[in-house]
Symmetry: C2
Subunit: 232 residues, 2 copies
Amino acid sequence: MAKFRLPKLHSDFSVDCVIFGFDEGELKVLLVERNEPPYEGWIAIPGNLVYDHEDIHEAAARVLYELTGLKNIFLEQFYSFGEIDRHPQGRVITVAYYSIIKSSVNGLHPVSGYTRKAFWCPADKIPKLAFDHNQIVERALETLRHKIQYEPVGFELLPEKFTLTQLQHLYEAILEKKVDKRNFRKRILRYGLVSELKQKQKNVSHRAAAYFKFNKRRYADLKKKGFIFGIK
Amino acid sequence: MAKFRLPKLHSDFSVDCVIFGFDEGELKVLLVERNEPPYEGWIAIPGNLVYDHEDIHEAAARVLYELTGLKNIFLEQFYSFGEIDRHPQGRVITVAYYSIIKSSVNGLHPVSGYTRKAFWCPADKIPKLAFDHNQIVERALETLRHKIQYEPVGFELLPEKFTLTQLQHLYEAILEKKVDKRNFRKRILRYGLVSELKQKQKNVSHRAAAYFKFNKRRYADLKKKGFIFGIK
DNA sequence: GCAAAAGTGTTAACTTTACACCCATGT
DNA sequence: ACATGGGTGTAAAGTTAACACTTTTGC
């Protein structure tokens, strides 16, 4: 027979966030240095317990803010991890979220004492992390690679203005393979997902590239019609 | 500062299972009639609390067995639901799993007293369910529709031997649209994912259709090479 | 003038789509 | 003989993949 111990004072579930950024031609993941046991001093992804009467999605946003200073980030849930021994102090199930943002945003300043600092780490150089966080990051990467196949996720990672080469390098970093320049450009331009700006690069020691911006409106229209945006 | 109340006696999280079957040309969902408060007497998807020292995945398998008699089902996690008021007796986060099976399996016999019965319901005629289960089923359907676009999920829903028309109707039921017979067959046959059996239908008042079987080996080979199996 | 990255088109192979008639079986 | 669903091919349109040279800019 089911028994409920309610109401409770504390939840034994948590949220963890895998935040992807792209900078210097590399895919990056946002990490923190913990300032609390367990795993005090370890590197981890931002995460913490959910309050009792708190929506998990809001909890993810709050925790991310407290631990890194990031605000107004669009978070998407991707998996829950519940190995019985994943937390050294007992059973804690965690709901994992991910987001892809413009890592140019500076101001990574933990707002609480839970973490000592927050910093970007190249996705292919993640150190040993606290808890089962390596597993969580690995799964987030799979989700991202999968997602980029049918949604133009990449634009979220770039600044407002970007060159087509930057965009291409981003795809190559996520998919971990080379893409043909001409075919890539044809595909991107075909559906009008980007608009060319009049502005060009300056002070580069090679032909200046045109800047483009993502055409959100156009994307929304196409999406309604069920189109798929894939780069193979 | 984080505080942990550990060890605990009971978990306040649950698992819920959306089991898809296909029968009589219709996509079906496995439902139960509850025999316990809350929502006693209501229709719901099979679900219950997770034991303290139980892996959530194992919990899903156990709960499914107890409530419906189904065993050895491949369950896949797809989302966690954590609205603060989703459970009338307090905060309960649920991890939702789905599976696709041959609904010909009879023997739906609840093994515990939690449910009065288990039965198949057409996916497009789901009644009002307990908790937020309608929302969970809806999301599982989206996941299934998405998944069938790049994995030959359909074979899991059919008996060992099936006709190509049955397979086509299955795709049409899931994708909710008509598919061209000739093009469908060409695509299925092209990659050798199915093998024709010598056996044919009997006692049908029209030309007997050939039976086919799914070629798992071939699928595994193709998958390794990164192929995508899509029906548009 | 050279190094570095930007930008640009064509062709062949393949994939997708649309479409209509004859076949086998039971009644 | 008729009703029912099974089974089959082709051509046109569209998509993908492979591939190399010229342009612009700063030093």
